[in-house]
């Protein structure tokens, strides 16, 4: 990790409790360098989604700070928040929540249009983002009539169109068939952005992210090389993380190293 560069993301002593009193984050510290790809692992209810919603200032007010490339997330400051939301692109778990415009192209245009992009440049952005996820042929389609995997890809495109510095994905591989899952991995791997990926799909984490962070009961429980974390049986069992039957992280990591 490069120490001199400003981190792409710097979360420090972040706390959060939901209005009903449930503490979801209890002092999270996390630093991600520009260009890094990090997997955020942890059992159900660990606080992963809650943490993600802090990264662009949707949730706030529990104490602690979040900085994106040196710019602090200050909830009251509208221009600053607008800039943060341009820098941090979040792809939500359910594409139906993300795609709300009547056509694919309009949906992809929504984000950049909000940051003031218009006319020919907007069209170029839409084309570029749809091409990146291989969905150019569907630009005038109704999102609802696409397959789940296609909708997930369009959801990624809606965020790519904003040219974010940090791409945050909440369980991107869930509900995808193996081929779509692999294609999405290829897309993500080819993007020149900092990546934070929430996932329960441990082989996917190993494939895409050299580094992983385990979040449990609102705290960072482990932070290190993905292959090392996944191979630590004690650690894994302690946080309700289980590898698929027959999966050997060491062998998978080795074959991955061969391939690249």
């Amino acid at each position: 990790m490069i120490d001199v560069a400003t981190p792409a993301l710097n979360v420090s002593r972040l706390h959060y409790a939901y209005p009903d009193g449930r503490a979801a984050l209890r002092g999270v510290d996390l630093t991600i360098a520009p260009g890094e790809r990090v997997a955020l692992l942890g059992p159900n209810g660990a606080g992963k989604t809650t943490l993600v919603l802090h990264l662009n200032g949707i949730l706030h007010g529990g104490g602690g700070t979040v900085e994106v490339s040196g710019l602090p997330v200050t909830p009251g400051d509208r221009p600053a928040i607008a800039e943060i939301r341009r820098r941090v692109g979040i792809v939500f778990q359910d594409p139906d929540d993300q795609l709300f415009m009547p056509t694919v192209a309009e949906d992809v245009a929504f984000g950049p249009a909000n940051s003031g992009v218009r006319g020919a440049e907007l069209d170029a952005r839409v084309d570029e983002a749809l091409a990146a996820v291989g969905m150019s042929d569907h630009r005038d389609h109704v999102p609802h009539h696409l397959s789940f995997g296609q909708r997930r890809r369009v959801a990624v495109a809606t965020v790519l169109a904003m040219r974010p510095e940090i791409l945050v994905l909440d369980e991107p591989s869930s509900n995808l068939d193996p081929a779509s899952r692999r294609e999405l991995a290829e897309i993500l791997e080819s993007l020149p952005v900092t990546l934070l990926m929430v996932t329960h799909d441990l082989p996917y984490a190993l494939e895409l992210c050299p580094r992983s962070v385990i979040l449990d009961t609102g705290r960072i429980a482990a932070d290190g090389e993905t292959a090392a974390l996944l191979s630590d049986r004690e650690l894994m069992r302690g946080h309700r993380l289980e590898l698929p039957f027959g999966f050997d992280p060491a062998a998978a990591a080795a074959s991955r190293a061969d391939r690249s």
Partner: protein, 254 residues
């Protein structure tokens, strides 16, 4: 606008009227309807003229007469109401085939029937030639408050999603032996409706978060299409102008 967002009343034809900008068509139909409504019901010639205009319009839009008439049946309940009026009306009466009819009632019935039919036909023509998306776009360009057009946009998008949710929940109920024929199982249906509501409410919240994450601040970006050219306004002005002409002519001649 490409595939999709055809509603049941939309008729996909590559006609001239289809290509007109939506706001232009909306204004034309609105003005036409106003002229029709303010025409006194006794100017019978005027109504014949309006009907002729509609026929010409339908021909230009390449909407078949039968298609139009079939859909115009939605006004039947009102027509039935109109049929009652001559019998129930007060005042002077005429004998017709042994029936005693009120003249005032006859005029009332004609008034409802003629104006209702013309209004329905004009609206159907608008619907047949304009997709839902374009209708909303047209309203937006006509400066209809954005709350309305935004709500309409979301409805358009999520009505399918909701219908799908409802269908999935119904299938899940049926698969677990639910049989709505039995009265005591009505509860499951009621609970289903309740949870559908909750689901849509929670979805609304999640959708809102996703929108805010992409920089939404309360106003949907305006689609960057060009405004309708003056030529289109001029072309569609033909409908209200012709109907106004007919109204004036009928007023002068009678």
């Amino acid at each position: 606008m490409g595939a999709g967002h055809a509603h049941p009343l939309y008729l996909d034809r590559a006609g001239r009227v289809h290509r007109l900008a939506p706001e232009v068509k909306i204004v034309a139909v609105l003005l036409f309807t106003i002229v029709v409504v303010v025409t006194p019901p006794t100017r019978f010639w005027a109504f014949a003229g309006y009907a002729l205009l509609i026929a010409v319009l339908a021909a230009t839009a390449r909407v078949p007469a039968f298609w139009l008439l079939k859909r115009a049946t939605i006004e039947l309940p009102f027509v039935l109401l109109a049929v009652v009026l001559p019998f129930a009306g007060h005042g002077e009466r005429v004998e017709w085939l042994g029936l005693s009819l009120s003249i005032e009632g006859l005029h009332g019935a004609w008034n409802i029937f003629a104006k209702g039919t013309l209004g329905v036909l004009a609206s159907l023509l608008l619907a047949a030639t304009t997709t839902m998306r374009d209708l909303i776009l047209g309203l937006d360009r006509l400066r209809v408050p954005s709350v309305f057009t935004q709500i309409a946009t979301f409805m358009l998008r999520y009505i399918d999603v909701l219908a799908d949710d409802a269908r999935r929940m119904r299938i899940a109920r049926l698969s677990r032996g639910y049989d709505p024929r039995f009265l005591w199982q009505v509860k499951a249906f009621a609970v289903g409706v309740g949870s559908l509501f909750l689901r849509s409410y929670e979805r609304g919240e999640r959708v809102y978060l996703a929108m805010v994450s992409r920089g939404y601040t309360g106003r949907l970006p305006q689609p960057a299409h060009d405004r309708a050219p003056a030529r289109q306004w001029a072309m569609s002005a033909a409908l209200p102008l012709a109907s106004a002409g007919i109204a004036v002519a009928a007023a002068v001649l009678t």
